[in-house]
Amino acid sequence: MAEEGWEPKIVAFCCNWCSYGGADTAGMGRFQQPASTRVIRVMCSGRIDPLHVFNAFLEGADAVLVTGCHIGDCHYVNGNEKTEVKYKFLEEMLQQLGLEPDRLHLNWISASEGERFANFINDVTAKVKELGPSPLKPAGVK
């Protein structure tokens, strides 16, 4: 269990065309969400290599979110379908490695779904708070 007052660090990869817009909409619509996420904007969710996810975990992220446009809505025709293929391997591998499934999420969020984005962040933060710090977190990183 985590110590009192501990806030998880969550890295959210957001695609420029949908989920980053979604995060924006969440702010404009004033949907409350915890300040636990660090958003990294990428041009397409297909850009997110498993390498980036590993690096986030090894640098001390407690959870990583991979978000992008809904299937069929990709700005680059099928970038998010490629994300899905990679994600399935990534998910299996991290589970086999012993990382709790709640630490890695894939979600499709469009630019208008501000509330969905805020709820998603709320849910994940609550779950990760229960789990405590990630076992891959390097020593000395809070």
Binding site: D49, G98, L136
Partner: protein, 384 residues
């Protein structure tokens, strides 16, 4: 003329090759004929140094090919990478053939230029373990060994002064010796993915020990055999039904054993202990990169994702290098065991890698290295 799918029994016409070969010298003769008749420019063979050491060589000398005849069980080398960029014929264990096909899928080997003569394989042994086993179990000085053989589940060593000593492989494996770990749970014993599938299983009667059973798998196999028959290097005849049945039976026994051992070798790990289970051995890593260097299915080249983005100082724990490799090989690992063999820190990498790769491959009903037309699951989305 032979046809695809033929089951044949054959042997080398050259008496010397036939006698020295493990089972009739057919494979040696086929390779020599391919070189002689210009079917290929080079042949990859293992140059015999002693019973525990052999080096792969790429040769265009027929005599060198003929000299390489005879099998070695304690020199596990995967030959796939030697076939790159050449017009070659090569002998291959099932895992060599798998690696050749995986490399072909990744555009590194041109299958039209590569002739693969598969050999049945019940498993190979690590030379260091074998030497230790000779001293501890057989009470023989490794220097005195002149030959070895596997017969009816027993491992037989012949010494200089003509003695033969046999111990059951099960017994050896219980004592921690015997075959390499990845060979124990391997279930591809007959190289049906090669061009020819050769071996001594199913050679019965007066031919036992002096002929090779050979199954023709594809057109390249037909070419190889026709070429060798034309050159007068081999003689073949159709195998009897009994021989075919015996070969299938031996294979079934070996595959069942592999399946049973797999359950014993892979431990059930509770979810909360997994991270510890994987991180502990990985912490011994010294970042020498040997496991990537020898990996026969790795086609990334020298600078790749696993090596470029990780820091040496991360090696005391799970590092980026291992995480990338565990993921990257989960659809292509053939469990050839080379990474474990070369690891200077004795990390059981093959075992760790397999516990990621096997479930992932089974889930997708995909076996790497069987058919060049099977698309690796990682390449599932291709731009139309």
């Amino acid at each position: 003329m032979v046809n695809v799918g033929d089951m044949l029994v054959g042997y080398a016409t050259n008496e010397d090759v036939r006698k020295r070969g493990a089972s009739g010298g057919l494979v040696t003769a086929v390779l020599a004929a391919a070189l002689e008749k210009g079917l290929v420019e080079n042949v990859v063979v293992m140059k015999h140094i002693n019973e525990f050491e052999a080096v792969p060589i790429i040769t265009d000398d027929v005599d060198e090919v003929l000299a390489s005849t005879g099998s070695l069980h304690s020199v596990p080398v995967n030959l796939a990478k030697y076939a790159m960029g050449r017009k070659v014929a090569m002998p291959a264990k099932p895992c060599d053939a798998q690696a050749v096909i995986e490399q072909a899928k990744r555009g590194m080997i041109d299958l039209d230029n590569t002739y693969v003569v598969g050999l049945n394989c019940g498993g190979s042994m690590h030379p260091v373990t074998t030497k230790k086993m000779l001293v501890e179990m057989y009470d023989i000085d490794p220097e005195d060994v002149v030959g070895e053989e596997i017969e009816k589940g027993k491992l037989i060593f012949k010494t200089k002064n003509g003695e033969e000593m046999a111990i059951a492989i099960d017994e050896l494996e219980e004592a921690g010796f015997g075959r390499r770990e990845s060979c124990r749970y391997c279930t591809l014993k007959i190289p049906v993915n090669a061009d020819l599938a050769c071996g001594n299983w199913g050679v019965i009667g007066d031919k036992a020990g002096s002929a090779t059973f050979c199954q023709v798998m594809n057109d390249k196999g037909v070419k190889l055999l026709d070429n060798a028959i034309e050159a007068g290097r081999i003689e073949v005849e159709p195998a009897s039904d009994k021989a075919i049945a015996i070969r299938a039976k031996v294979n079934d026994v070996m595959v069942n054993l592999g399946n049973t051992l797999e359950k014993e070798i892979f431990p059930e790990i509770p979810d909360e202990e997994r991270m510890q289970y994987y991180m502990e051995p990985m912490a011994d890593c010294i970042d020498c990169g040997a496991c990537k260097e020898v990996c026969p299915v790795c086609a990334c080249g020298e600078d790749s994702k696993c090596t470029m983005f990780h820091s040496l100082v991360d090696n005391y724990k799970m590092s980026m290098y291992h995480m990338v490799r565990l993921l990257h090989l989960s659809d292509s690992c053939i469990a050839c065991g080379q990474c474990s063999d070369v690891c200077p820190s004795d990390i059981p990498i093959t075992l760790l890698q397999s516990s990621f790769a096997i479930p992932s491959q089974r889930k997708r009903e995909y076996t790497p290295g069987m058919n060049v037309d099977d698309v690796p699951p990682f390449f599932e989305v291709i731009l139309k």
